[in-house]
């Protein structure tokens, strides 16, 4: 999966790309981009801006600190110096690379 928009923080060639929503507790890496998924419940331009406002910008460090007690959902994610709770459905929008 390749990020669809230009970004100063595009992943180096060959770096493993993944969606944040598929990772589990203890995983850490950084954000490489945001892309729409089929499971979006609000318009993409709105979703993208909400995530950006909470700090999910390209290059941000992310670490999954906790998973919810029921169905391992939602996630508590450290985004740089902020902790954000979000459901896996929303986390799937965030493209990440390990490292």
């Amino acid at each position: 999966m390749i990020p669809t928009r230009e970004s100063a923080f595009a992943a180096p060639a060959g770096a493993p790309l993944d969606r944040l929503g598929r990772r589990s507790r203890g995983w850490s890496g950084w954000v490489t981009g945001l892309t729409p998924t089929d499971a979006l419940t609000i318009p993409w331009t709105e979703m993208e801006r909400r995530l950006l406002e909470m700090g999910f910008v390209e290059g941000a460090r992310v670490e999954i600190l906790h998973e919810g007690p029921f169905g391992r959902d939602p996630l508590a994610v450290r985004v740089d110096d902020l902790t954000v709770a979000l459901r896996r459905r929303e986390a799937d929008v965030v493209l990440v690379a390990e490292g």
Binding site: L52, M54, G55, P69, P74, L82, V84, E90
Partner: protein, 621 residues
């Protein structure tokens, strides 16, 4: 209006920035809470005088990460700042509050606010925590980078707002401010660019060694899949035990005081109508409600403490999946938890939910959460019918029944939400994206001020609405007077007695006698009034010595156990709070939803009480 001399300052900031603490520190108890014209969001205005002697008005606006306005609360912040609301000008100046331990997101907000074109101050709040953790912020450089004045504040410390006050004095207020603003909704690309700019500024101006160690450690326990849930349940259980048992000594004291005052006044006044009004109407009625002040204070104490500590967001995190399973949003947890105090703040707190349908679902089930106004009723009936014993090694039976009533409310709320989701709205849910703030030690002064404001609101209600109702009920219960030489209690001949008797057949199948029916009518205005009315009705229908007795033994003698249980269950579900319905009407801006709420709750209450009465009756036979 204070005239043109008092400039108006808007207090803006991200959620969890300590904005309200700062507002409290600046204004103390000089706060006015009203609603914005035409909308339902609370308008919190305070006033203070700066060291230079300039009077200033300040508005506490709902926390937001941007001016885009995604929820009704955030829309208010945007519209006030941009001067879009009726009767509100663009404020003369903006004070932006930042959690100094966490500056990144707020710097982006500052950039948006600057576009409004008013003089601005950035208050770096919680600077004491930054210093304690070995961080530092180059305030002068930050001020130069942002092009606005930047000051350090510690809202929770005496004198911690001195720098901010001085900066407000030096604000270059515009003589003739333009009525236009330069803000427009940022695009995704602009948000990205602003983040990059914020990151650069932070890198140059602030050093922060990372503050999350304690929060991280606490979260490994408090957000643990098993321990976290157990602790959440324990916290809720402790809250209810505390409300029931800690309050007792204070309640006994208030009760004894009011009774003594009633007897004292009764002895001074001559026998007759006035004495009956004062003793039976005012003292018996309002007194029976005032007794519950300690319980309400304890409940709010817990809610404020959990909120300030930062636990409420964790509770939302833990409960989100369960809530989502019933079709509610994780954020609904906070409004629903607030509804334990009162459905009205709970329903108003539902504004944090962006999606209208999620919000309406939350509003519709909020009154099923046991509000503090039901406590007087529960307490009275439980004390009269449930033995004061401990079972299972130390758990009070009375507390257990109370817990059961709360649990019934919660479970039925979840069930109703589930049915709404499955039958009425089947579309996908709103995203759940929420900051988990660092834990903070609640500041005693802040908690005290919060309690003071809420206790004051309850007392004002007791002194106005409830007092008026009590006097009305006393009139209805006393007039017309029984004919000369009549036997039987006087209330039988009164208007209230007649209404009660008239409606009694409707409620007979669920085990209610006419006294209960009489109590239900004014209970519509405020649930807790029912206790006062029962006291008044029984006081007036009894004769001589009995009238002096407390309500509780009268009820244990007059009601059967199935009736008492049916009454308790009725109170779990019944839609009998006009203020709640009025708030729903305002918040949803529709007559449909309050009607829906009234009908579904009435049907539920009647059915549940009917079942309880008959099942209990069959079991006890």
């Amino acid at each position: 209006m204070n005239g043109p001399a008092a400039p108006e300052i808007a207090l803006v900031g991200c959620p969890n920035s300590g904005k309200t603490s700062l507002f409290n520190a600046l204004t103390g108890s000089r706060q006015k809470v009203a609603n914005y014209a035409g909308v339902t969001v609370e308008r919190k205005e305070g006033s203070f005088v700066t060291p230079a002697g300039r009077p200033v008005k300040i508005l506490d606006l709902p926390g937001t990460y941007s001016l885009r306005g995604r929820s009704p609360d955030e829309v208010i912040t945007r519209d006030v700042v941009l001067g879009r609301l009726d009767g509100e000008e663009i404020p003369d100046a903006v004070v932006c509050v930042a959690d100094a331990t966490n500056l990144r997101l707020v710097l982006r907000l500052v950039m948006e606010l600057k576009a409004v074109g008013r003089p601005m101050v950035l208050a770096l709040n919680m600077m004491d925590i930054v210093a304690r953790q070995g961080g530092r912020i180059d305030v002068d450089r930050l001020s130069k980078e942002l092009g606005i004045s930047v000051v350090e504040t510690v809202a929770v410390k005496r004198g911690g707002t001195a720098a901010l006050l001085a900066a407000i004095d030096e604000l270059p207020l515009l003589e003739d401010p333009p009525t236009e603003h330069g803000w427009r909704e940022p695009t995704a690309a602009e948000i990205r660019a602003a983040h990059a700019e914020a990151a650069r500024i932070l890198h140059d101006c602030a050093f922060h060694p990372g503050n999350e160690h304690l929060t991280r450690k606490l979260d490994t326990v408090l957000l643990h899949p098993v321990a976290g849930v157990v602790i959440l349940l324990a916290v809720l259980f402790l809250m209810f035990q505390a409300v029931f048992s800690w309050a007792t000594p204070a309640m006994d004291l208030i009760k004894a005081g009011i009774e003594a005052a009633g007897v004292g006044v009764g002895e001074i006044l001559p026998d007759g109508m006035l004495r009956s009004l004062i003793v039976d109407g005012v003292f018996a009625g309002v007194g029976a409600v005032l007794v519950f002040l300690p319980q309400i204070v304890i409940l709010f104490f817990f809610i404020i403490l959990l909120e300030d500590f930062g636990y409420m967001a964790r509770a939302a995190f833990l409960m989100d999946r369960l809530m989502a399973g019933t079709g509610l949003h994780g954020r609904a947890f906070i409004p629903l938890l607030s509804s334990f105090a009162c459905a009205i703040p709970g329903i108003m707190a539902a504004r944090v939910i962006e999606n209208r349908r999620d919000r309406i679902a939350t509003i519709l089930v909020a009154p099923l959460m046991t509000c503090s106004a039901r406590l007087p009723v529960y307490t009275l009936i439980i004390a009269a019918f449930v033995p004061d014993e401990t079972i299972l090694g130390g758990v009070g039976l009375q507390g257990l029944v109370m817990f059961g009533l709360f649990a019934t409310g919660i479970l039925s709320a979840l069930a109703v939400a589930f049915i709404l989701k499955k039958l009425v709205w089947r579309e996908a849910t709103e995203p759940f994206i929420m900051e988990l703030p660092d834990y903070k030690m609640p500041a005693p002064a802040n908690v005290a001020l919060g309690l003071w404001i809420r206790a004051g609101a309850f007392l004002r209600r007791a002194g106005t609405v409830i007092l008026a109702l009590m006097i009305l009920i006393w009139f209805l219960s006393s007039f017309p007077a029984p004919p000369e030489g009549a036997t039987g209690p006087a209330i039988d001949f009164s208007v209230a007695g007649r209404i009660g008797h008239f409606l009694a057949p409707i409620f007979e199948p669920i085990g209610f006698n006419w006294q209960i029916v009489v109590a239900l009518i004014p209970g519509m205005a405020a649930r807790e009034v029912a206790v006062g009315v029962l006291a008044t009705v029984y006081a007036l229908s009894a004769t001589g010595e009995e009238a002096r007795q407390a309500l509780q033994p009268i009820l244990s003698a007059a009601w059967s156990l199935p009736t008492a249980l049916s009454f308790l269950v009725w109170y779990v579900f019944a839609p009998q709070c006009l203020s709640t319905l009025a708030v729903v009407r305002r918040e949803t801006n529709s007559r449909v939803w309050p009607t829906v709420m009234f009908v579904y709750m009435f049907v539920l209450a009647y059915a549940a009480s009917f079942a309880t009465y008959h099942i209990a009756g069959a079991l006890l036979r």
